[in-house]
Every structure is written in structure tokens, then in C-alpha cells.
Symmetry: C2
Subunit: 290 residues, 2 copies
Amino acid sequence: MGDVPTYLTRVAEAVEATLERLLPSEDTYPSSIHAVMRYSTFAGGKRIRPAFMMAAFEACGGQFGHHDVTLAGAAFEMFHTFSLMHDDLPCMDDDDFRRGKPTAHRAFTEALAVLGGDALCIYAFECLSRLNNVAIVREIAEALGTQGMIGGQVVDIESEGKRVDKAAVEYIHRNKTAALIRASVRTGAIIGNAPSHVLEHLSNYGNCVGLAFQVVDDILDEEGTTEQLGKDAGSDRERGKATFPAVVGMAESKRYAQELIDKACAELTIMGAHGHMLETLARFVGTRLS
Amino acid sequence: MGDVPTYLTRVAEAVEATLERLLPSEDTYPSSIHAVMRYSTFAGGKRIRPAFMMAAFEACGGQFGHHDVTLAGAAFEMFHTFSLMHDDLPCMDDDDFRRGKPTAHRAFTEALAVLGGDALCIYAFECLSRLNNVAIVREIAEALGTQGMIGGQVVDIESEGKRVDKAAVEYIHRNKTAALIRASVRTGAIIGNAPSHVLEHLSNYGNCVGLAFQVVDDILDEEGTTEQLGKDAGSDRERGKATFPAVVGMAESKRYAQELIDKACAELTIMGAHGHMLETLARFVGTRLS
């Protein structure tokens, strides 16, 4: 798995250069909105969604760094950042820090955190429209909507401080986190002209690895240190968040994460050697635990 | 101008039937988000943007009630509602009432007002993607972004309580209001396969009539009663909003609105008799004053 950090770095460099080029500079009027968009977008994410997208594109025979995939990857990072900016708001999770930096509404104003998130979401659609492929617009819109990310966020907020069961936590994670990761994988495959049976296997892969990603996140929130996480450790538990460790315990959470990763990798059998990086990325999600 | 109320009613009926069909019911899980989306969408707007869109489509030789235009009109109403929900938030305009009803964050929660707005924006893009015309996605994304509606909203908020000049108010209104009305007109024309020189005249028309619409709104906020407006009369002045009457006076505001309407109508000369409804709608914007 030694090649994952290198791969993530290569993807991050390509995507960040594209984001740098796409996002209006702070000198562009009105300055404050472009400042907050850039502040949150360049706050130091791993760019894991574009990495899944690029690996899926390569698995379908595409070349690393292809313009359309890099552009779509940059747009997906804007969508992801939009969701974080709104999640962090006082009326939602009320988080002061994210990745060790003040959140957008702390560094700027609440109004700019709302509008900056809105603007990133809208601009991401504008950038995606440049690919001239309406299927990709539909793909991401479905993943983000009330039967996807927003739906997960609604149930997450409404579950806070309540007794919830495993099915509810699974619903939240599948929608809030896995839907966007699944769409990242699918978008890479769509740009790579994957035939429908391949797309189906890759969709299942994205679903499993996306859910595993969030289960691991839950575990790290319990076991990691504040320094490692860039946010308060144990903050999920403190505010009564619906997490896997809270409903099924730590040992079962780890077993479940591993099961999901194995399931994700099993979907790659038909890809043969082309599926190598997707498999390596899935295994890497698991190693974040150790 | 007797036919405008009839036209608006016919458009509203078509668009609201489409919105009723498109928006998930309150029985769809998670219920609360669909409830807030429907609450705000069906809060009684005039559906003026879809009316401009349909009239532009007809001016280009299209048939009233065409499926694609009605769908796009419904999507534009979702975008418009999204912008109102976020504008009304405590961290922005902090409005308790809109069209005589409690605003979304008052009737539901602040979190649901933020997420409901997000969901409407995303779902509107999903609906537009069904038209299989990526140019329309780009059109609306540009109109909504930081060089359009969001940009206008940012400057609007940042100008509150400050001395601003006519150029600043014009910037706010051109972006916050006119950009979406212009995009409505253009989208009707694009679906109607308008040649580029016609599209250019209709763009100018949309710009002028959109700006006139907001100047008239400013005037009504000063002169209308709370009952007529469905919100507090004089509220713009109270909170030091940048308005035309505040910077150029009432008489000059009325003269300017009329000038813009005349300019808008002059752009329709090339349309001949086909431009009748667009002209009637533009004149109607002016009669809201009397």
C-alpha cells in the first residue's frame, strides 16, 4: 500500500492546480465571497474523492490526469467543501474548527459561510456543465439531494441525542458520506465510458468503500487524539451523534469496516489488474485504523 | 394589459402542477426536508419568472405550455425559493414573514431552512438535467453564482447601514434580481431555438425588465402597506438597505423604472407581433406602481 500516499499526492496536486485556476481570485469583486470559497476549499483536505474518481477512470482504461476527470474531481471537492461549510454552521453541528483551522463562519461571518457554500455548490455545477455530459450533472445532483447527502444530513441532525439503531446509523452514513464517494467512482467510470455491467460493480464498490470510510471515521473520532484529527476527539460522543461505535460497539465496528472493505474489493474481480489502485485505495481506508 | 393576470394564472397553474409532481411528498423519508421544501415553494409566489420564460419561448414561435419550458420554469421557481429561504435566515435579512406567512426558519428550524434551500437548489439542477441540454445548466449556474445572484446578495448584505451610491444599488439589483429574470427569458429563448441575434435582444430585454422589477419593488416597499406586501412596509429603510429611493429619491426612481421598461420594450422591435406578451409583461411591471 506504499503507493497510496504517492497517488493521493499526485491527485491532490492536479486537483488543487485546477481549483486554483477555476476559483475566482480574492481580487475579483465581490472579494469576500471569493475569499471564503478559497479559504474553505484550500483548508487541507485529502482529496480522497478525486482519487477514487481518477482510479475508477484508470480502471476503465483511462490515462492518469485526464483533463475531464481532473475538472470533475475539482468540482466534487467544491461540492464536498460546500457540505462541510453548511454542516459546521451554528444551527447544524456548530463546529469551531475543521482540520485544525477555524471553520468558515468563525474565520468570516455566518452569512458568508452560508453564501460561500451556496456559491461553491452552484459553481461546481457550472464547472461540470463544461464537460458537456448531462449524465454527470444528474449523477451528482442525485447523490447530493434528499435521497443522498442532504437526506443523510437531515437524519443525522434529527438523531442527535436520541437512541438510534444500527439501521438509522447505516442510513445516515450511506447517504451523508457514501453517496458522494459512490458518485465519485461512478463519474470516473462514466467519463471512462464503462459498459453498464462494469458501472454496476463499481457502484457497489463505491457504496461499500464509502460506508467503510465513514465507519472508520467514527472509530477514529473515538480513538484518535485531537491533534491527529484536527478537531476535538470524542466530539461525536459528546454531542450524542449517531455513530457505529455508539450503536454496535468498537469491536463490531472494526469488524464491519473490514467486511465492507473486503466486499468492495470483491466487486473488482472483473476489472483484473486494472482494478489494482481501486483495491489499494479500499485497503488504505482500512489501514487508517491501525 | 388585461391579459396579464390571465396569463400569469395560466403559467402558475402549469408550473404548480409540475412542482406538485416533481417535489417528493411529505410522506417520503426523511419527511421534514420535503415538508420545508414544499412549504416554501408553495408559499404563494406570482411565478413571474416562468411567465417571462414562457412568453420568451412563445415569442420564438413555441407553443404555450410546452413540457420542457414548464419543467424549466418549475426548476427556476425552486432556485428562486432557495434564494429566498437563505436570504431570510437570521444571519442574513432575519425576516420572520414572507408573503404573509412565517419564513422557513420560523415555521421549521434554522437547520431545515438552510438544508431545504440547499436541497431545492440541487434538485432544480437535477430537474434541469432531464432536458438533456447542458447549455441551460450553464445558463442558470452563471446567473446564480458570484457574478450573478450570490454576488448581488453579498454586496447587498455588506452595504446594509452604509452610505452607498447609485452604482452600488444598481450592481446589487442587476445581480441579485435581474440576473435570474434575464436567465428565465434566455432559457425560454434557448429552448425555442432562438438565433443568436434574437437571443441578444432578449438578453437586453431581460436585463432591463429585471432591473425595473427590483426598482419597482423598492418603491413598493416604501409606498405599499404591510397588508399589500405580505411583509413589513418600510422594512428596507428601517434596516438601512441599499435601495433606489434611498439613493436617488422617489421621483427619480419612478422615472428610471419607466425608462428601463421602455428600453426593454424597444428590444422587442425585431420580434414583431410575436413579442406582444413580453411587451405586455414589461408594461405590467410598471403598472404595479399605480
